[in-house]
Amino acid sequence: MKMGCCFSCNEDDDIQSTDNSERAQLLRDPVSNSTPVVRVPNSDSLTVGASLEGISMKGQEDELARILQETAAAMIDVSGSGSHSLDQREYQERSRHYHQKIQSLSASLLRPPTNLLGDVPNPEKYLGGPLISEEDAQLMEWAMDEVEYALHSIRITHDEDLVVPFGGQQATMIGNDC
């Protein structure tokens, strides 16, 4: 059995560490070039990208801070830690301020909602007026009778089977078992 050894003597300018252990990285990972490996104390991990280290660390810290901020904002906390009760003085001051502000508001801001039925002045004029003609009353009765008949005449007719089997063969087998 023959064994060989291949190594490179050219020092990479980017690598600051001269760690020659078995975990020393010979080739830079093109994927993680933008996210250099950070050396963790008391471990065998490598610090890569020495010349970019200052900028990368700062960027990474900003990124971590941003993630932390977003996580804190998204966390649900109902303990009431965010609440601050107003003191009496501030409460009275605000009340006074609001009272002054609403003095200048118009009562028309509270207009009632529009109703389907409207009020008319002098209703006795309409209530005491002539009745509708006999023909109009009969026409209305006839129309309502027709509408009622039509409603009661509604029927549902089905042309297809109400129960539709899926998977013909399987359905047939189930049918046979039953």
Binding site: V78, L86, Y91, H97, Y98, I102, Q103, L110
Partner: protein, 125 residues
């Protein structure tokens, strides 16, 4: 003018069956306009109660269903409807069997008043 507005709110109280109180307040529970009947529980009109909505609506928005607009809380004898018009909060206190859907329509009725108050309240908070 304040009395006219209060009168208008009182009419809304009468028009909606079971409605006990209408409170228009800021986020911290400081009342701007308030009308109530004798049936209203007094604790529900206090700042400490009204201010809970501000916290609750913020946290409810984080539940992943979008911005929280209203919170309806049902109690044994009453129901409390709180509508977010931040920085203004509308609180309606009604009987527990009052028509909740009908009461929710008050949001549109009170909207012109709320819009008029918004700028002043935002400056204060």
């Amino acid at each position: 003018m304040v009395e006219e507005l209060r009168k208008g709110l009182q009419q809304l109280l009468i028009a909606h069956n079971g409605l006990h109180a209408i409170v228009i307040s800021d986020r911290d529970g400081v009342a701007i306009l308030k009308v109530s009947t004798e049936s209203t529980p007094e604790l529900a009109l206090r700042m400490s109660f009204l201010s809970t909505f501000g916290i609750a609506t913020d946290q409810a928005t984080k539940l992943g269903m979008g911005k929280n607009n209203r919170i309806i809380t049902m109690y044994e004898k009453h129901q409390v409807i709180q509508i977010s018009k931040l920085p203004i909060v509308i609180t309606l206190i009604a009987q527990n069997d009052a028509n909740t859907g009908n009461l929710l329509t008050l949001e549109d009725t009170l909207d012109p008043l709320v819009q008029a108050l918004r700028g002043d309240v935002a400056a204060e908070c």
